[in-house]
């Protein structure tokens, strides 16, 4: 049936707005970061772990070492490329895990109400009050270093961050007449929640997830900095910064600053993108 075709075309035309420059830059940066991570073995000029004490602390711009070397003579550019893998994937893991948990708990609290809501809300308050880094450090102390433990710990401690927002938005959205009309049509709560409520909450979910990604990236970098994240010699941006400490004191800040800038740019890009996606979805669903 051709019913939807003309309308789809009309909608598509109306929806195409000019994408702001900041968003284009953010997308370009994130794609580039992901691509260099994925293609690191092909792109990197050196092995990320190859040390060469003779070449240590070469400044950026040195022939053969575009971004210089660290205190053990490892090529910063190569480590940056390989480091993109863990530095991007680990926060993504935190976001996905806490996203699923937070959405499930928030929706359950909002839709069930009553004592279920009361118990879940208090639980989330308690976890929320607990500093995420401290929780991650405790978990690492128990399970040993490596990435799995900090990812899980951060995911748990970020869950209330999303869960509380999901809960309040779900309560608001759930009272809208279209949700009631689905109940009156005989649909069950679970189906209306999953099929109608959840998709209408995606702008909020995306915006919050982008924020969580930023926090997770910084927290994971801090853990790596404290020596509690990835195990050497594997590279990630956080451990690169931490290992550059002595170099910075020796007046060669490049090997620490460069991964720091990478963290910063990634966090900013993700937030710009999250806000943009959230905003455009909200516009699409907007009533007159």
């Amino acid at each position: 049936m051709t019913l939807t075709i003309p309308a789809l075309r009309a909608r598509g035309a109306k929806r195409r707005r000019r994408r702001p420059l900041a968003v284009t830059l953010a997308i370009a940066f994130l794609l580039a970061a992901a691509a260099t991570g994925a293609l690191a073995p092909l792109l990197a000029p050196h092995s990320p772990d190859a040390t060469s004490l003779l070449d240590s602390l070469a400044p950026p711009g040195t022939a053969g070492h575009l971004l210089g070397t660290d205190s053990t003579g490892r090529d910063v550019l190569s480590r940056l490329m390989y480091g993109a893998r863990l530095s991007l994937l680990a926060p993504l893991g935190v976001v996905l895990l806490s996203g699923v948990l937070g959405t499930a708990l928030g929706l359950l609290a909002a839709r069930a109400g009553g004592w279920v809501d009361a118990v879940l809300s208090r639980l989330m308050d308690i976890v929320f009050a607990f500093p995420s880094l401290l929780l991650a450090m405790l978990v690492v102390a128990v399970f040993g270093p490596g990435l799995t433990a900090p990812i899980c710990a951060l995911a748990v401690s970020y869950t209330p961050f999303l869960g509380r927002v999901v809960r309040s938005v779900a309560i608001q959205e759930g009272a809208r007449p279209y949700m009631e009309s689905y109940r009156a049509m005989g649909f069950g709560e679970l189906r209306t929640t999953v099929r109608h409520l959840l998709p209408n909450m995606t702008p909020v979910l995306l915006a919050q997830s982008a924020l969580s990604f930023g926090y997770a990236m910084v927290d994971l970098a801090s853990l790596s900095y404290l020596g509690l994240g990835v195990r050497p010699p594997a590279a990630d941006w956080g451990s690169m910064i931490s290992q550059a400490q002595s170099a910075i004191l020796q007046g060669a800040p490049g090997s620490g600053l460069i991964p720091g800038v990478a963290v910063l740019l990634t966090v900013v890009s993700v937030n710009v993108l999250g806000e943009h996606i959230g905003g455009s979805i909200a516009r699409r669903g907007e009533g007159t």
């Binding site: 049936m1 051709t2 019913l3 939807t4 075709i5 003309p6 309308a7 789809l8 009309a10 909608r11 809208r176 007449p177 279209y178 009631e180 009309s181 689905y182 109940r183 009156a184 049509m185 005989g186 649909f187 069950g188 109608h196 998709p199 209408n200 699409r284 669903g285 907007e286 009533g287 007159t288």
Partner: protein
């Protein structure tokens, strides 16, 4: 005629919200194809009654019979049974649709739930037939709700409610949010749908002119109780209860007499 079972039968319905008794012993019957008005001032319990009928609120006590059978609870069976017989139209035509679905998709939803064996092609044909029945173009059907006017959305809501051929339609202030000329169009549509399909209406409104147009019988609610009931024409021409008289005199018409409204209000206060 007398042996026919009422399609909807409500008795001693009570609903309390904490200390507030929103509905207090309401009872009425609705025969197949009939149209009953529920009128009353703001806060008299009209919406609460309508929501109980649609299963959106549980009554504190009292019974609702649909086609002679009691309906209670939110079990899947009960939900489907109730929805199959009774559908509701809400006041807000703007918010009644999932903003992410096209109108045609929304109209198809209840058909999909209640007639799962219908093939995709048959379902689409049914949706097209429904949209046509309420006077919506194919183009409107393919649009998201935000691109439709209030009147079009209310037509769409009617199409969606009629999809599974319910026997009762509960309309809560269904035209209150619309312009007067659009109101008239929707009322005309409702009239002809009732003639064509034999569906029965419970029409909740505070607008007596609208109620006069669309209903045969009416009940007047005040503080959650029914204070007067009978033929709509008779009630409006010759109101027995002082409250009904007050409602009628409160309508601004040529020769409107505010003194009389005040007198009515005093008579009502004296009679309670």
């Amino acid at each position: 005629m007398t042996s026919e079972t009422p399609v909807l039968s409500v008795s001693s319905l009570v609903k309390r919200f904490g200390d507030v008794t929103a509905v207090d012993g309401v009872g009425f019957e609705l025969m197949p194809g009939a149209s009953l008005g529920i009128v009353g001032e703001s806060g008299s319990g009209k919406t609460t009654t309508a929501r109980i009928l649609a299963g959106l609120d549980e009554p504190t006590s009292g019974t609702v019979l649909l086609a002679g059978e009691p309906v209670t609870g939110r079990s899947r069976r009960a939900r489907l049974h109730r929805a199959r017989l009774l559908q509701m139209i809400f006041q807000d035509p703007y918010g009644s649709f999932d903003p992410r679905q096209t109108i045609a998709e929304s109209v198809a939803e209840p058909i999909r739930l209640h007639l799962p064996d219908l093939s995709g092609a048959d379902r689409r044909a049914r949706v097209a037939e429904l949209l046509d029945q309420v006077g919506l173009s194919e183009r409107a059907g393919g649009s998201p709700p935000r691109e439709l006017s209030g009147g079009q959305r209310q037509r769409a809501a009617i199409a969606r409610a009629l999809g599974i051929r319910p026997r009762v339609l509960v309309l809560d202030e269904a035209v209150a949010a619309l312009d007067v000329s659009i109101q008239a169009q929707i009322l005309t549509l409702l009239d002809s749908l009732r003639r064509d399909t034999g569906i029965a209406y419970v029409f909740v409104s505070h607008d007596l002119a609208v109620v006069r147009h669309i209903t045969d019988t009416a009940v007047v609610m005040r503080h959650g109780r029914i204070v007067e009931r009978g033929d709509t024409e008779t009630i409006l021409r010759d109101p027995q209860h002082p409250y009904t008289r007050l409602l009628l005199d409160s309508i601004p018409v040529p020769g409107w007499d505010l003194d009389r409204v005040a007198r009515d209000r005093r008579a009502l206060d004296a009679s309670r």
